[in-house]
Symmetry: C2
Subunit: 221 residues, 2 copies
């Protein structure tokens, strides 16, 4: 990570542990959100924490979330509950000579805030952002949502105002007296990889794997 | 997922949305926890939710968590705060003919509970479980933690009593009237993949990549 520490946007967004790994600049936060796939959304229910995996999409300074209108979670969030969305990318195992100095390279973002429901064209835009976040170009290949489908879909918008990023991206740090131990140490990179697409059995004849999916096979995921 | 629906261990652990994807049997919950890499831990701070990525390890019916003794989060959890640990594995994009029916194949587990601090031999055991969860066999290759290092490490144990699993693992479900559209549909498998290990620059000469790391290159991650 480059040395882009600025002030946190709020006290609760301040990175406390390993503060040198923290960052609050918009570019870093947005880049990690764009690279992440799934978020984990926290809220308080009956005074106790609940954490649920959710998809998201970003447009500028906002995130979009979506779910069923029948979902308790979505109703709670739409009703103005405080939430926290955390996205984590696991980049590498850092394997030290000592158990104690084992670590991870990762990129994570924590966004605090309150989501608000959006409707009409903005709801469709929100669903589009979420779809395009996962599979860029897919939206224009498929049948768009009908009005009936959108009425079954709750779409929320959440500002990326109170956010912080935390990144570790360097090699092994061992105690000086451990360096010469006969123990292998190093970094093992990890990444999300794409397998071969499996066509639906009922696929109409002659349809090729589309550009959106072919592109995912290389850089995007 | 096999058809192993049992009763949820508590009302808050009941899977509500898409309840047919829910499961409460121990075998399913443990298998997902063992396959996952990182958890997202939620707690309530000043009445608001906070979600932080954390490593974990499992031993039987308990999870172990660890962190710095200086961490506010660890102190909060050790002090008896309710927590929720959620682990999610993203297995595939499910690409339908309609935007609305796009989905994911995934495996997730939500564990509710209260963690308690452990010390002495059990704390070392907990750290060992966390290390071995990520890189099986690594513990016996490296220098074990010293007393000084363990005094800097807070280790918590959390029961896997109130837990639920949610799994989607099937293909595209489209509207019958969309099946013949000239739109490609199918499943794109995803997995966490391992790159080539990068040895530490200060590595003592002649050290080979150890068995724990070689094994990760194939099945484990």
């Amino acid at each position: 990570m480059t040395d882009t520490l600025a002030e946190p946007p709020s006290e609760r967004a301040r990175v406390r542990r390993a503060a040198s790994r923290g960052s609050y600049d918009t570019e870093t936060v947005h880049a990690i959100l764009d690279a992440g796939r799934m978020g984990h959304v926290g809220l308080v229910a009956d005074g106790r924490p609940v954490v649920i995996p959710m998809l998201y999409g970003r447009d500028g300074d906002h995130l979009y979330l979506h779910g069923s209108v029948a979902s308790r979670l979505m109703r709670g969030l739409a009703g103005g509950l405080d939430t926290c969305l955390t996205v984590t990318l696991l980049d590498a195992y850092v394997l030290a000579r000592s158990a104690f100095h084992h670590s991870l390279n990762y990129r994570s973002v924590v966004v605090f805030g309150v989501a608000e429901p959006v409707t009409g064209d903005e709801a469709v835009h929100g669903v589009r952002c979420i779809t395009e976040h996962l599979v860029p170009g897919r939206w224009d290949e498929v049948r768009a949502p009908s009005d009936v489908e959108m009425r079954q879909t709750s779409v929320l918008r959440m500002p990326i105002a109170e956010a912080s990023a935390k990144v570790r991206g360097h090699g092994v740090v061992d105690e000086p007296e451990d360096i010469d131990l006969p123990i292998w140490a190093g970094v093992l990179p990890l990444r999300l990889a794409v397998g071969d697409p499996v066509a639906d059995e009922a696929l109409a004849p002659g349809l090729e794997v589309p550009p959106s999916v072919l592109r995912l096979d290389s850089a995007h995921v």
